[in-house]
């Protein structure tokens, strides 16, 4: 090589730009490399030479082979080294970092640094602390229990030993994210979930490996369908698992991935269907419904969501065909069809209808209200209109169907006024559920009147969310409060408190603190109340929430979004408080008592 360097005219192999540059400045890269190699070899030799007496040095308590002079000399050297370290920047930095930690004096810290410095560098040889084998130190060599280095095998063993206990710890609890997710679902139960639930989840996890469900009972199929739908895993393939001839009901909550033929397959495979529930049925077309009519299916309970490819004429044919056998009809999110005329046909043909839910059907208007009023056997009615309707027509309808109703839900009637509440008071006497939301006409006085001397037994489910005055220039609303406010709320709790299971009063902004204090006073108990929504009540604070927990022993879920004064509340065990300011760890109170 030296020869080649000297004879510049010879052909050379490729070399780096740096070597070229150095050569042009008359510096030899090969020379530098050789010098470096020589220095490394020298360092290795001295290191080996130093290490041999090392074991004796370390055991200085035993100190048998060390003469007193040698020891004195070594001590002196060590003190000098320690003093030097104490001067160094590294020491100052460590010291500033460690201030406040007990049991760390300057000496021990300096000694730590000294031992680190005297540790062999990568590439050098060392004896393993555990197995005493000689090995080459690498940057990955681990430090043993006594500060010495470990060989590759022992390093690995130790790393494994470190890992295992950690993994176990993580397995004992589910993560914070999952925990918060469960809380948002209102699930704060203690203990393991039921074996049925765990198994269903496991089945859903492995749905692609499952050939058939065997004879799983219908209730379990229903739950499986819910979970698969939520995970958006209901495909034409998984649908086949649910098609069983003998079953009379099918519930698919997400059919968005199914094609028109898949819908037809459902009705082909299950000729005895009596209960059909298909949501997000975007590919359900006229020909599928015509097919069910041809097959003379005796459908009594029908729920279909967003079937916008079904025409009005087809709906009408279906209602004529099913006639008085139809007991339940729930349709939602229809914007392309389902007009007043179709509702007219429905009310003429399906006289046996007990349960009717029509939500977000864009084409329905006043004519539909009149038609629904003629359904004389209705017991459950749920309406959510898009079009603005005449309050008069709504009132007439309540007068006609009200006396038989057991549940009533009215959403999307912004024009409805006090007369509606009066109508409910006068005509409905068998209600267990009442929902009347999104209204800024009805006054607090009428709400209060509704619940005063009402022969209707106590309600189980009440939802008056977003009944309030909306005026940006006057946040407190007029003097005569609009929407469910203090009077109405107290009257409601007096009338229905003992039976109430679910109550939603979110955004009923004009309920005063006094009203809450009265309703949740010491002597009040709402034994059955499980779910309560008090979102957007800015007067809610830790004290009032505490009162609510005290008065509602069965409470499972309390929704309190935008209640900014609810900060450090103590949540009883088994209650999910949703919408707190911070995603804080729940403060569990033993035994559910505060």
């Amino acid at each position: 090589m030296a020869d080649r360097r000297q004879t510049r005219n010879q052909i050379r192999g490729p070399q780096s730009a740096l070597t070229d540059f150095l050569a042009s400045n008359n510096i030899s890269a090969a020379q530098i490399s050789e010098d470096y190699q020589r220095r490394v070899r020298a360092a290795e030799r001295t290191a080996v030479a130093e290490q041999t007496p090392n074991p004796i040095e370390r055991n200085d308590s035993e100190g048998t082979s060390e003469s007193p002079e040698q020891r004195k000399k070594r001590k002196r050297k060590e003190t000098a080294a320690l003093a030097k370290i104490k001067q160094s920047k590294e020491f100052a930095r460590r010291k500033s970092r460690r201030t406040g930690e007990p049991g760390d004096d300057d000496d021990s810290m300096a000694r730590d640094i000294l031992s680190e410095q005297s540790r062999p560098l990568p590439g050098q040889l060392e004896n393993c602390e555990i197995c005493s084998k000689r090995f080459t130190v690498t940057p990955y060599s681990k430090t043993g229990p006594n500060g010495g280095l470990l060989c590759a095998k022992c390093s690995k063993d130790q790393a494994d030993g470190d890992k295992k206990p950690k993994a176990k710890k993580a397995g004992a609890r589910i993560g914070r994210r999952q925990n918060q997710s469960n809380l948002l679902d209102g699930n704060a139960q203690q203990g393991a979930s039921t074996l049925v639930e765990s198994c269903i989840r496991k089945v859903a996890d492995n749905i692609n490996d499952i050939e058939e469900f065997g004879d799983l009972p219908s209730s379990l199929l229903h739950r499986l369908s819910q979970i698969l739908s939520k995970r958006r895993a209901l495909t034409p393939r998984t649908l086949n698992l649910f098609l069983r001839r003998e079953l009379r009901s099918i519930n698919i909550y997400d059919t968005a991935k199914l094609e028109t033929d898949d819908f037809q397959k459902i009705f082909t495979f299950m000729p005895d269907l009596n209960n059909v529930n298909l949501r997000f049925a975007s590919q359900l077309k006229d020909r599928v419904l015509d097919y069910t009519m041809d097959r003379e299916l005796k459908i009594e309970h029908l729920q279909i969501d967003s079937a916008n490819l079904v025409s009005d004429t087809c709906w009408q044919r279906l209602f004529v065909k099913l006639g008085p056998d139809l007991k339940t009809l729930k349709l939602s999110n229809l914007d392309n069809s389902f007009n007043d005329e179709t509702v007219e046909v429905l009310s003429k043909c399906c006289t046996g209808l007990r349960r009717l839910k029509l939500k977000q059907c864009w084409k329905m208007g006043d004519g539909s209200l009149q038609a629904i009023g003629r359904l004389s056997s209705l017991e459950h009615l749920s309406l959510d209109f898009i079009q603005e309707t005449d309050a008069e027509k709504l009132l007439d309808m309540i007068g006609q169907v009200g006396p038989k109703l057991r549940t009533l839900s009215l959403e999307g009637f912004p024009t409805a006024d006090d007369r509606i509440l009066e109508g409910i008071h006068n005509h409905c006497q068998h209600l267990t559920k009442l929902r009347f939301t999104n209204n800024s006409n009805c006054t607090d006085k009428t709400f209060s009147k509704l619940f005063t001397d009402w022969p209707n037994p106590a309600l189980e489910l009440v939802d008056f969310s977003s009944t309030r005055d909306v005026d940006n220039s006057n946040a407190d609303g007029p003097a005569d409060a609009i929407g469910l406010a203090s009077q109405g709320f107290v009257a409601l709790m007096n009338h229905s408190g003992r039976a109430l299971q679910k109550l939603n009063i979110s955004s009923c902004r004009h309920i005063s603190r006094e009203a809450f204090e009265e309703a949740f006073a010491d002597d009040r108990v709402y034994p059955k109340l499980r779910e309560l929504d008090v979102s957007f009540h800015t007067i809610m604070d830790d004290y009032l929430i505490g009162r609510i927990f005290r008065c509602c022993p069965s409470l499972k879920k309390l929704v309190a979004f935008a209640c900014f004064n609810v900060q450090e509340v103590r949540v009883p065990v088994g209650v999910a408080l949703i919408g707190g300011l911070k995603a804080q760890e729940r403060i569990a109170v033993e035994g559910g008592q505060i």
Binding site: A172, R173, I174, N179, G191, V196, S198, C199, V203, L216
Partner: protein, 136 residues
């Protein structure tokens, strides 16, 4: 049946390692002679369709609603009298897992954020049927 003893062994070993208060034996070696008295004794015996016995504490077994009603002394069912429930429709493998769950449930009774017990995928459908029957 040469393979059966090995299978039984694996069950016994499994339970001695994971749940200390659980033992298993096979029915034709009359399991009731382990100092266990019928009626209101502290332990009850669950028997699988293929003859595997699992002796578990009464409180553990009563996590299952069906077994609790079987063992309810006021019911006068033969199960309540003998302290022995024969679950014809379950294999030993499934019942083993069920027993594991009963213990798991009791162990985590008052804890929050309990993860699901580990269930082998090949067993989950059978176990689901069993769990539905046992009301757990």
């Amino acid at each position: 049946m040469p393979s059966l003893p090995a299978f039984r062994l694996s069950i016994a070993r499994h339970f001695s390692s994971s749940t200390s208060n659980l033992t298993s034996s096979q029915s034709h070696t009359h399991g009731n002679n382990h100092g266990i008295h019928p009626g209101s004794s502290e332990y009850v015996t669950l028997v699988s369709g293929d003859g595997f016995e699992f002796i578990v504490p009464r409180s553990t077994a009563c996590v299952s609603g069906t077994i609790r009603r079987m063992l309810d002394p006021s019911s006068r069912f033969s199960e309540a009298v003998t302290g022995r429930c024969v679950l014809e429709n379950m294999s030993g493998l499934v019942l083993e897992k069920v027993c594991e769950y009963l213990c798991y449930n009791l162990k985590n009774k008052n804890q929050t954020n309990v993860p699901d017990m580990d269930i082998p995928p090949e067993l989950c459908l059978e176990l689901l049927m069993a769990a539905d029957y046992l009301d757990t």
